[in-house]
Amino acid sequence: MAQVRTTGEIAANRVAIAAVLVITLIFLAPIYWIVSTSFKPRNLSTTIPPTVLFTPEVSPFVKLFTKRSQLREQPSPEEYAAAPWWERIVFDGGEKVVRDGKGEVQPSGYPNRFMNSLIVAITSTVLAVSMGTITAYGFSRFRVKGEADLLFFILSTRMLPPVVVAIPMFLMYRAVGLNDTHWGLIILYTAFNLSFSVWLMKGFIDEIPKEYEEAALVDGYTRMQAFFKVVLPEAATGIAATAVFCFITAWNEYAFALIMTNRRAQTAPPFIPSQVGSGLPDWTVIAAGTFLFLLPVAIFTFLLRNHLLRGMSFGAIRK
C-alpha cells in the first residue's frame, strides 16, 4: 500500500502485529505441548511446574511402535545388558517388549492403523474431489431442472450427524459384508465429503469465464477435451483447496471409524486414545502418535497453502 500513513495508523498497525503474534503463540501452545511431550521421558510429562527444557528422547516413539507389557520386577542386570538399546528403553519404563512364539518383537497396532488411515483418506479424497469437480461442472455449465433443490439436497447430506447415518449404514454393511473393510470406510467418507466438494467446486468453476471453453470449442475441441484441457487447469487452485478440506476431514474422522471398523480396517483416530496405557498413563506415547499423525496432513496443507488461501478468496468473491 503506497498511501501516506499517519503516525496513528502506524501505531495501530504495530499493535495489530503484536496482537497477531500473541494470538498465534496462544494457538500454537497446545501444539507445541503435544510435540514437546512426544520427546519427553514419561516422568517429565506430568510435572508441575511444567517441564519446558529437557533432553529430547526417542523413547516415546520406540514405545509407540512396540507392543509392551508391564513388568512386576525389573530384569536382571545380565538380561538388561544383553538387550538392544531400544529394548532397554522399554525396560527403563518398567515394561518389556512383547515377542511372539518365534521371539520376534511384536509391533503395536499403530503402524497398521496409520497405513489404513493413508489408504482410506487418500482414496476417499481423490474420489470425492474428482466426482465433486465433474458434478460441479455439470451444474455450473448446463441447465439442470430443479438445480437449486438438487444442490440443497446435496448439501443436506452433509448435515446428518455421523451417528444418525451410522445405524442404517451399519445394518446395510452387515448385509453386504462391508463392515470393517477399507472400502466400507472409503465409501462413507466419499459420500460425506462429496456434498462439500460439489459446493466448493461449483463456486470455483462459476468463476472461470465460459468464453475460454467456447474459444476451445471453436478451435475444434470436443466438450470433453475442453473440460480436461481448459477448465481443469483453471480450476486447479479450487481443486487443491477442496482436496485439503476433504483430506483433513477424512484423515481425522472418528465416529464412523469407531463404529464401522474393528481390526482389519481401523484407522488411527480411534486407536491413538487406546495407547493411553494399561496400568499407568503414558502421555508421551499418545503425544508421539499424535505428532506423527499430524505430519502428513500438515505437510499436505503446507504444500498447498497458497492454493488454499487464494482458493478461499476466489470462492468467496462470487457469492
Partner: protein
C-alpha cells in the same frame, strides 16, 4: 544419535515384517487393552511354539471394549475367533447366539470342579443355575485397594490419627474406618488427598465402585432370579452405602469425576492419595519401582467390611468364549483344551494372569508371588456381580444416569436416586417381559 535412529528404523521394519500374516493356521482373541492381555499373548506364544498355531491377542480400550465387541458380534463378523468377554455380557451374547455353547466341553473336562466356584457362577453359567456354560473362566479379578504405607506408618500421623479418631491408624477393616482415614489424609492445602475411587460413568467403572460399598453393606442390586428390584436396590443399607460412596468422593483429588483404573493408579504414583481403589489386575504397575517411584511404600488390602461385618467386593475378570461366527472353531476348541490344562494354568499365573484354577490359587507359590496375591485369593471367594441379563447395558446406563449426578454433582438424595433407579429398572424389565 544416528546409530540410534538406524536401530529404531531397523526395529520398525522388523515390526512391519512381523505384522505380515503368515499363511499357517491363526487364531485371534479379542480382549481389552490391559496387561493381562499382554500376559495372554505371552502364554499364546508358548502355544505357538508347541503347535505352530499363531494366536494373536487383539485389544481395544476399556471404554469402548463392549461397543466394539457387540458391533462385531451383531455384524456377525469373523474377525475374532475367541473373545475374553465381561461377565455381564453372557446373557446378551448367549441369547443372541454369539457364543458357542461350551456345556459339553465344560462337563467333559469337569471345569465346574477345577475352577473357583465364583468364577464358574459369574463368568461361565447362564442363566443362573441352569448348568449351561458359555465360557471358560480365564482371568479372575476383583476390586482391591492399594495404600501408602509410608503415610500410614509415619509416627506423627499415627499419633494425630489416634488422638482424633480414638483407634490406631492401620489399613481399614471396615468402611467406617475407610471413610475416617480418607478424611484424615485429605489435605488440599498440601496437595494430598484422602482417597481415589472409580467415578467414570462411560462404562461400568462408577457402578462397580458403588457396588463395593453396596455389597459390603449387605445390600444387593436385585433378585437375579425373579427380577424383583423394588425394596432391594433401594433398601436402607443401599441408601447408606451410596451416601458413604458420595462422602468418599468429597475426599478425592481435584478433577476426579472421570476416574478409572489409570487415574486411580496414578493417584498412588504421583503422591495424590493415601488409598486407591483398583482391580487387582492393575496392581503390577504399582510394585515395580521403574513405574511407581513409591513402589516400596505401597501396600495392599482387600475391600473392607460393612457395618454388619459383611465383606464382599465387585467382581471383575472375564471368561474366554468362542465366537459363533468364527471360521476356526475347531482350532479354538483345541486352544481352550490346552488352556485349561493344569500346567498351562500354572504358567498363566506365573506370567501374571489371574488364573481361576482352584489348585493353583490355593498353592503357597501363587499366594506369595506378589504383595497382593493373598488379598486377591481372599477376595475371590467373596465376590458379587452386576446383572447379566441381555438388557444389562440399559440397566447399567440407567444406573449411571441416576447415580452419577448424585455422587459427583450433589444432586438429590441417595434415597431419591435409588427409588428412581428401581423405577427405571422395573420399567426395563417390564419392557422385556421379565416381570408383569
Amino acid at each position: 544419535m544416528r546409530s540410534k535412529l538406524a536401530g529404531l528404523l531397523a526395529g520398525v521394519s522388523l515390526t512391519f515384517a512381523a505384522s505380515v500374516p503368515a499363511m499357517s493356521q491363526e487364531l485371534t482373541i479379542f480382549w481389552a487393552e490391559w496387561d493381562p492381555a499382554n500376559y495372554l499373548q505371552e502364554l499364546a506364544n508358548v502355544y505357538e511354539a508347541e503347535t505352530g498355531v499363531k494366536v494373536t491377542v487383539e485389544t481395544t480400550p476399556w471404554s469402548d471394549f463392549q461397543t466394539k465387541a457387540f458391533t462385531e458380534f451383531n455384524a456377525k463378523g469373523s474377525a475374532y475367533d475367541m473373545v475374553v468377554g465381561d461377565s455381564q455380557w453372557i446373557g446378551a451374547a448367549s441369547e443372541a447366539g454369539h457364543y458357542v455353547d461350551l456345556t459339553d466341553f465344560f462337563n467333559q473336562h469337569k471345569l465346574a470342579e477345577t475352577m473357583a466356584a465364583a468364577t464358574v457362577k459369574y463368568y461361565a453359567e447362564y442363566p443362573a443355575n441352569s448348568g449351561k456354560y458359555w465360557s471358560v473362566p480365564a482371568e479372575g479379578d476383583a476390586v482391591g485397594w492399594s495404600y501408602r504405607k509410608d503415610w500410614f506408618e509415619d509416627p506423627k500421623e499415627m499419633e494425630a490419627f489416634k488422638a482424633k479418631y480414638g483407634y490406631d491408624l492401620a489399613p481399614p477393616a471396615d468402611f467406617k474406618q475407610l471413610r475416617d482415614i480418607a478424611e484424615f489424609f485429605h489435605r488440599p492445602d498440601e496437595k494430598r488427598y484422602g482417597i481415589a475411587i472409580y467415578t467414570d460413568n462411560s462404562y461400568d467403572a462408577l457402578v462397580m465402585g458403588v457396588e463395593n460399598a453396596i455389597f459390603s453393606y449387605g445390600g444387593e442390586l436385585g433378585d437375579y432370579a425373579t427380577y424383583k428390584v423394588d425394596g432391594i436396590i433401594n433398601s436402607d443399607q443401599n441408601v447408606k452405602a451410596l451416601e458413604l460412596y458420595k462422602e468418599l468422593y468429597g475426599f478425592t483429588p481435584p478433577g476426579w469425576a472421570k476416574a478409572f483404573f489409570i487415574e486411580d493408579n496414578q493417584a498412588i504414583t504421583e503422591n495424590l492419595a493415601a488409598m486407591s481403589m483398583n482391580y487387582f489386575a492393575f496392581f503390577p504397575a504399582l510394585v515395580n519401582e521403574a513405574s511407581n517411584p513409591n513402589a516400596k511404600n505401597t501396600g495392599f488390602f482387600a475391600n473392607p467390611a460393612g457395618p454388619n461385618g459383611d465383606q464382599y467386593a465387585a467382581l471383575g475378570g472375564q471368561g474366554i468364549s468362542i465366537v459363533n461366527y468364527s471360521e476356526n472353531k475347531e482350532e479354538a476348541f483345541k486352544f481352550l483344551e490346552w488352556f485349561i490344562k493344569d500346567e498351562t494354568q500354572k504358567k498363566w499365573a506365573e506370567l501374571g494372569g489371574y488364573t481361576c484354577n482352584k489348585a493353583v490359587l490355593e498353592s503357597a507359590e501363587f499366594q506369595n508371588a506378589t504383595p497382593y496375591n493373598k488379598a486377591f485369593y481372599d477376595t475371590m471367594f467373596k465376590v458379587k456381580d452386576f446383572w447379566a441379563t441381555p438388557e444389562y447395558a440399559e440397566l447399567l446406563i440407567a444406573m449411571n444416569q441416576r447415580v452419577y449426578p448424585y455422587v459427583t454433582g450433589d444432586q438429590g438424595t441417595a434415597k431419591e436416586v435409588l427409588d428412581a433407579l428401581a423405577g427405571d429398572w422395573n420399567a426395563t424389565f417390564k419392557k422385556y417381559n421379565r416381570v408383569k
